[in-house]
């Protein structure tokens, strides 16, 4: 134990709603996005992309494009084949996983629309774009497999040479691994004398749609090749480049400058990055490639895309007895960096906060001729949470009790922690009762239920539904040994360094790579408290493999939980080192030195010295202890032993217009337990943004392909991101049960809102119309889908409607379709 444990428990910085350090630059336009970078002699790239979902590249004629004004050269895959490398997957989920080679610029065959077939290099981006139109590619179209369920039949193959569309199968069985009973027995028993809920849910394909389009600048003119890229993962990217292109790792420097959002969408090693690198190396000139939004939509990886077959069993009183999950997951055309691991991450989360005695998770991954699929905010856990929270509502309806009552009956009680789940995860802390009680209070749960009843009884055309989601997630990716046991290709540790500068400021180097999260502010708060230095004197450096040589980057709500703990350990090492300097300076024994709020003192005296003075003394090195190096700087690498398990209760009220299918969010309350909070302002922002992404999956977003394999939702016109006018203000609060897996007691918050909100919204919509016999509406729950569900359920359109409620169909009004108001012929 170190002396810091003796410090007062109340800290001035941790827990304070510090305004962000990052903001000053961002609100004044003093930014360093990758696309802002200009280098002497820099050339610009434009990609020639396949318009076909699946085709053989018969020939490419680059002559006309090469001769176009200001064009330097046109490259095909063959021209860079020796150095272009390959886009690898880090997580083969089974030893026999089938994984097609993913060349950045394919040589023979394109496997999805938008795949790069040639790269045009010109003196300006506009010239490159113009010339890209002149590249003449002769394609021989091949049959494309676009539907996930059809892919399972292998009638048409995404990659003919693999012989099948199936990539891999992965199973978790509680009986086999000894963490629970046999799910088959549970189902058999429930079929005889219990409840069996069987459902199939669709997780539609989503597009991360970070606001900054991806951009890469490669400067090959120095001894090291420097790549600037709009990436979440500069360290992982450097590893991927070194592993596949022949460039030694020590010759590559990757810099993630200001990065405009990621949400998992920039957790990748991309064909665009690799193609830009290869071209820059071939030409020996700095090269830049910035994608258009339309290119981003079709070539940056997508998220979700699953079919979920679910069987939940329970006693007649609603006590759950088993859960069986059969997933089909669409990988798109290639196994991306996390790839099949994304749906597998859900394996430990379908059972959620409930005490299932038996559980089985089966996941089969398939290839299709569509854009590749990988991590998107939550990655596997939103899919799992959606399924279980929808099912718990179905169970409540079956038993005939309130959805919160069925959850309370089955969840882990607060005095049962730590609790090892049926999936084998040990949840260290949590209090579902407390979060739920607080959420109900803020929501006005009973009042809204009363209003719902009243509207139902009066036959109001606008019905009210209340949706519940009592979610948990696993965050803090990840214990390296666990990753190793799952054959993931890397560890999950994080690194931090602290440099005590001579003039009193402190440099903090973190291996996490922020892209909007506010690490510079939160990290400063942690270090300021720990070392007793002013918040303003802490400078946080990140996102550059030369400055932060070690790191595992930012995703999976890991930065604070893993990287924050590394920071604490580095700070404690600084303090331990400084103690020897303090003892020397104060002419005392090290054992008598105490440290508090930046001051080292000799126990029982008023003698003391500040940590900044010691930093100067170590720098000057004129007079320091014999047995130490003249430095207070320290490094730490933290490898967690467990995940963290944030949870929360989200309550959503939706109004559903039963005449039009239109839905309107009335109120949204969430109470999240994310452990101790470093900065409540940043936390609140993370929750808000997460909520809207999850709500958007429920209501608006979906990547849609036509039968040719063209992404029809390929721009912001068609892929309907929510606007300010579509959304509401939220009510957020927190309960706290600190995590035990790190000394700060933090659990992670980056994905909570997204994971929890989707089922809360859909549960609310279904709840509004459940009395009409509706128990599911596929996402996104557009007005059309809601309306069709109401119609096909033989709903009671018009029942109880009075003229004042529906003036727009007044009889005798001119220019009205005489059949208006009836549904004949309109029902599909």
């Amino acid at each position: 134990m170190t002396a810091v444990d003796d410090r007062p428990t109340t800290s001035p910085e941790i827990g304070s709603a510090r305004r962000r350090k990052e903001d000053q630059r961002l609100i004044t336009g003093r930014t360093k996005w990758t696309d802002n970078i200009q280098l002497p002699g820099m050339l610009h790239l434009a990609m020639v992309r396949s318009p076909f979902a699946h085709a053989k590249i018969a020939s490419i004629d680059t002559a006309e494009a090469s001769a176009a004004p200001n064009v330097v050269r046109v490259f095909t895959g063959h021209d860079i084949a020796d150095i272009q490398g390959v886009n690898i997957t880090a997580w083969p989920i089974s030893p026999d996983q089938k994984t097609p080679d993913h060349l950045p610029v394919p040589l023979e065959r394109v496997s999805h629309t938008g795949e790069i077939v040639a790269v045009v290099v010109a003196r300006s981006a506009a010239a490159a774009r113009d010339a890209a139109e002149l590249v003449d590619v002769d394609y021989e179209e091949l049959p494309a497999i676009l539907d996930l369920k059809e892919a399972a039949n292998d009638a048409v193959l995404a990659h003919p040479d693999l012989g099948t569309n199936k990539s891999a199968f992965w199973q978790l069985d509680s009986a086999a691994q000894g963490s629970g009973g046999d799910v088959g027995e549970a189902i058999e028993k429930a079929r005889q004398d219990g409840i069996v809920i069987e459902r199939e849910y669709r997780q539609q394909r989503l597009i991360p749609a970070f606001m900054e389009p991806r951009s890469t600048v490669v400067d090959p003119t120095g001894e090291q090749v420097v790549m600037y890229s709009a990436t979440q993962v500069p360290h992982i990217l450097r590893f991927c480049i070194a592993a596949t292109t022949g460039l030694p790792e020590s010759k590559i420097r990757v810099i993630a400058p200001d990065v405009g959002g990621g949400f998992g969408g920039k957790l990748q090693s991309t064909p665009e990055e690799f193609a830009t690198l290869a071209v820059a190396r071939k030409l020996g000139k700095p090269c830049k490639y910035t994608e258009t939004r339309s290119e981003s939509m079709i070539s940056a990886h997508h998220g979700r895309d699953q079919w979920q077959k679910l069987t939940l069993t329970a006693e007649k009183d609603g006590t759950v007895t088993g859960l069986k999950v059969d997933l089909m997951a669409d990988l798109g055309a290639y196994a991306a960096i996390v790839g099949g691991g994304v749906p597998v991450l859900g394996a430990w989360m379908f059972n959620a906060i409930y005490k299932f005695p038996a559980y089985q998770f089966n996941c089969t991954t398939y290839y299709t001729n569509k854009t590749w699929v990988d991590a998107y905010r939550g990655a596997g856990r939103p899919e799992a949470t959606f399924a279980i929270e929808r099912l718990m509502d179905e169970l409540a309806a079956e038993v005939g009790v309130d959805p919160l009552e069925i959850r309370e009956k089955n969840w882990i009680k607060h005095d049962e922690f730590p609790f090892t789940s049926v999936a084998g995860m040990t949840y260290d802390s949590g209090n579902y009762e407390a979060a739920t009680a607080r959420a109900k209070e803020l929501f006005g749960y009973d009042e809204l239920r009363a209003e719902q009843k009243q509207r139902r009884e009066s036959g109001d055309p606008v019905q009210l539904g209340i949706g519940v989601s009592t979610f948990t997630e696993m965050c803090g990716l990840a214990p390296s040994r666990v990753l190793g046991s799952l054959d993931y290709g890397a560890g999950g540790w994080e690194s931090a360094s602290i440099r005590m500068l001579a003039t009193g400021t402190v440099e903090v180097i973190t291996g996490a790579s922020a892209h909007g999260q506010g690490h510079e502010t939160a990290w400063s708060q942690i270090v300021a408290d720990r070392l007793g230095v002013p918040f303003e004197n802490v400078e946080v450096l990140h996102g550059d493999t030369q400055i932060a040589p070690k790191g595992m980057d930012t995703y999976g709500s890991r930065s604070l939980v893993v990287g924050g703990e590394a920071l604490v350990r580095a700070a404690d090492k600084v303090i331990e080192k400084a103690k020897k300097f303090a003892a020397h300076s104060l002419e005392a024994s090290v054992d008598d030195i105490e440290f508090s709020a930046g001051q080292f003192t000799v126990r029982g005296t008023d003698k003391g010295v500040g940590i900044s003075d010691l930093a100067l003394a170590a720098f000057a090195a004129h007079d320091y202890p014999e047995d130490v190096e003249p430095s207070l700087d320290a490094d730490a690498t933290f490898d967690p032993v467990n995940f963290s398990f944030p949870h929360g209760t989200h309550l959503c009220a939706m109004e559903v217009d039963t005449e039009t299918g239109a839905t309107k969010m009335r109120k949204y309350v969430c109470v999240d337990d994310i452990g101790n909070i470093i900065n409540p302002l940043i936390v609140e922002g993370q929750v808000h943004g997460g909520l809207v992404q999850g709500i958007a999956q429920a209501l608006w977003e979906g990547a849609e392909y036509d039968e040719q394999g063209t992404l029809v939702s390929g721009s912001f016109v068609d892929y309907t991101l929510p606007t300010a006018a579509d959304t509401i203000s939220f009510v957020t609060d927190h309960t706290t049960s600190p995590a035990t897996s790190n000394s700060l007691g933090t659990k992670g918050v980056g994905e909570a809102g997204t994971i929890a909100s989707t089922p809360a919204v859909v549960n609310a919509i279904v709840d509004a119309v459940r009395d009409r016999g509706i128990d599911d509406i596929e996402m996104p729950c557009t007005p059309e889908r809601v309306w069709k569900a109401i119609q096909s359920a033989g709903g009671r359109q018009g029942a109880g409607v009075t003229p004042t409620q529906q003036p727009h169909f007044d009889e005798g009004t001119p220019n009205q379709d005489p059949s208006a108001g009836t549904t004949d012929g309109a029902v599909q």
């Binding site: 609100i27 389009p213 959002g261 922002g685 808000h688």
Partner: protein
Amino acid sequence: MTRITVTVDGASYTDEVEPRMLLVHYLREVLGKVGTVVGCDTSNCGACTVHLDGRSVKSCNMLAVQADGHEVTTIEGLSTNGELHPMQTAFHENHALQCGYCTPGMIMQAVDLLKENPNPSEEEIRVGLEGNLCRCTGYHNIVKAVAAAAGSSQRSDA
């Protein structure tokens, strides 16, 4: 090439530009005003919003030549004499930005919104920002910031 003279953030510039060059590309590539950014290619996202003669425009949605003889203000020219514009301060104080990519456009649009309607309701703020997309904040704190800048007390959550 066409000769244009444009005042940008208080300074006058004369340049020869391609007639097809968008105003946003002129700002970024010719003048180095990279505080204004491009987020889409369909004029949906509003990240490139600037003021033309005091009114907000999406600078991807007009040509540089159309700005000839006009006055453009970008996010880089919004503060005066080193003092942040009240909207910039409000965004900072209310944590209305995360990655910050939409922020320049969002702030420029919000300034124009208040110019048109100095005391908007939450609904009016939301509708007024409909042409600007943000993927990080869920808009909650952006709306709060604009209301704060307006001195508005109209907030839906306590």
